[in-house]
Amino acid sequence: AELKSIAILVPEQGSDFGWNQQGVDSAKAAAAKTGVELTVAQGLGYGDVRPTLRELAEDGVGLMLCHASGYNTACPEIAQEMKVPVAIVDRPDLLKPGLVADYTLSGHEGAYLAGRLAAKVSRTGTVGVVVSGEPPSWNSQSAGFAQGVKAEKPGTKIVYAVIGPAAYSDAAGGQRVTGSVIAAGADVIFGQGNGSSFGMLQAVETTKAVDGGKVLFIDVIGDKTTLDKGFLLTSVLWDMTPVYASMVDDIKAGTFGTKHYKIQLSDNSVRLLQTKNVPADAWAPIMALRDDIISGKIKIEPVFDAAAVRALMTDVAAK
């Protein structure tokens, strides 16, 4: 089929150095690569997006990228109603040929590597995971991270804390909770959150680890290097460009909605950010592990359930 323009819908402004920005940037890159027009609908919030979807469909958009797990009920419904293909996240079960495709994003492979790296650089033998909420994509990364830590140094403790209900914007809460996690011994923080992740970063920058040394921060999805003041260890970067580009190709080829799209280490759609804060000798072994994962030598199963994630943490902590 012919495809002239696509649209991406994101809940927050596409300038958050995270989920939203990465989605918008990737969509831009994919549109440029495949030669289609892109409409960006950002800051839509977590309410009802049906009006926007209908409007986009009326405007002749040929593919709508619903880049939020909260949109995965509305988008397939409107796809059906308006006969316009949509791509959603976190609902692989809703696949529908020609209409609905899923690209559940899981950076668990990258998070696993981050976990290995964290365990390597931790001096105190304790690392922290701070999240603002427990959506599936974060759960799988939290789990991946814990598995990585465990694999690298089984004795390492993992402290896990969720900030709270309104935590997307709770920057002060992010700082407070991260501060407590650092005080509980963590000297590497794996942080996932939107606005609150800036609070986590702030805590990392301004709090000393229990051994008096520096605390390092591992970010997810986006690249905050330009904002870094020397505390960013790495980031599990996502790049949806290949995903979006192949969606466009699939629509053109008439095969849309027949397969799941993934981000993964193998095509660099998930990768670990190398910063100057990574010790020189630590990077090479991590890259070797990456190759093992790609080759299938190491298998990491994604864990999406919050309770299972917690079990993983306490498990580790109990050792």
């Binding site: 896990y160 800036f198 920058e205 904002l227």
Partner: protein
């Protein structure tokens, strides 16, 4: 489990309590001044938010937290000025205007943030703490409570000072008369409107300072909607405290402690879902109300505009 008992962790819980509690304390003390004087200041959430934004802006532009606090106070007072003119001077409904101001402040700060900071997310450098000589050497509470930014001490001192002012000077009497029987205060030769006007401005100043503390010290940055209902909790604290600043202090500490506890339980690996733990502070307040819920002695003229000689 050992980390739960480690000194540094316990300290961090005290720190968490202080960080969460101070903005609530300032907001509660501020709201209390208005309420005493008979103005139910529902706009305090907006005042905090503007204070948070202005405080961050000031600190970020000048590099000085103290200048930031002044900005925050100014921001809060600007909103309060609007409220005072509309509700005290003109006598419009305090609840309507309060909600309007909160909405407006939410929208405005989110827009300003979008225009100014959403591409750079600037953060402030770490906060300089000031250790109270002697006390800061105590275990746990020493570093947790007595090695903080001076604004923490000032906020706590403010509760004590206000409590003393209310008891020792005519401030408390004047405010109480403005709230309980404004006509009597007027008859005694004190301008009721001016008293209430000043009270609302003080509320704005304290709420703005609380917001500024949140953005400058609590988070080190500004994020839209970051006050997250702290102002409303301030209203609740002020109402529960029935005019006594030290009760606001206790209430703010309780709330802060509950928030700290949620972190503590999680870090301890106690597997209760976060949402259940998050209910703690609110459930605590409701429990207090159910158990001690006698007729809350709110000022008789609370919420009513004063018009001299009205019949």
């Amino acid at each position: 489990m050992d980390m739960i008992l480690s000194q540094s962790f316990l300290t961090s819980l005290v720190v968490g309590l202080v960080m969460a509690g101070v903005p609530l304390l300032l907001a509660g003390l501020g709201e209390q001044i208005s309420e005493k004087a008979g103005v139910l200041n529902i706009g305090i959430e907006g005042m905090m938010l503007i204070g948070a934004y202005a405080g961050f802006l000031g600190a970020w532009q000048t590099g000085s937290l103290w200048v930031g606090f002044l900005y925050g106070i100014g921001g809060g007072m600007a909103v309060a000025l609007l409220m005072a003119v509309l509700c005290v001077r003109i006598g419009l409904s305090q609840i309507v205007i309060g909600i309007g101001l909160t909405l407006g402040a939410e929208g405005l700060t989110a827009l300003l943030h979008h225009v100014q900071f959403s591409r750079s997310y600037p953060r402030l450098p770490g906060v300089e703490t000031w250790a109270v000589p002697g006390l800061s050497a105590l275990p746990v509470v020493g570093p947790g409570l007595f090695d903080r930014h001076p604004m923490v001490y000032l906020a706590i001192a403010l509760a004590v000072i206000l409590s003393m002012l209310y008891r020792k000077t005519h401030l408390g009497l004047t405010l109480q008369a403005a709230g309980d029987k404004p006509a009597a205060l007027d008859g005694a030769g004190v301008d009721v409107l001016r008293t209430r006007f000043a009270a609302v401005l003080c509320t704005g100043a304290l709420a703005g300072l609380g917001g500024a503390f949140m953005s400058e010290v609590g988070a080190g940055l500004f994020i839209p909607f970051m006050t997250n209902g702290a102002g409303f909790i301030g209203i609740v604290l002020a109402m529960l405290a029935r005019g006594r600043p030290l009760w606001v202090l206790a209430g703010a500490a309780l709330f802060g402690a509950c928030l700290s506890m949620t972190t503590a339980l999680q870090v301890a690996g106690i597997n209760i879902p976060t949402d259940v733990i998050q209910m703690l502070p609110f459930a605590a307040v409701m429990a207090v109300l159910v158990i001690f819920g006698r007729r809350a002695s709110l000022p008789a003229a609370l919420g009513l505009p004063y018009v001299r000689g009205a019949r």
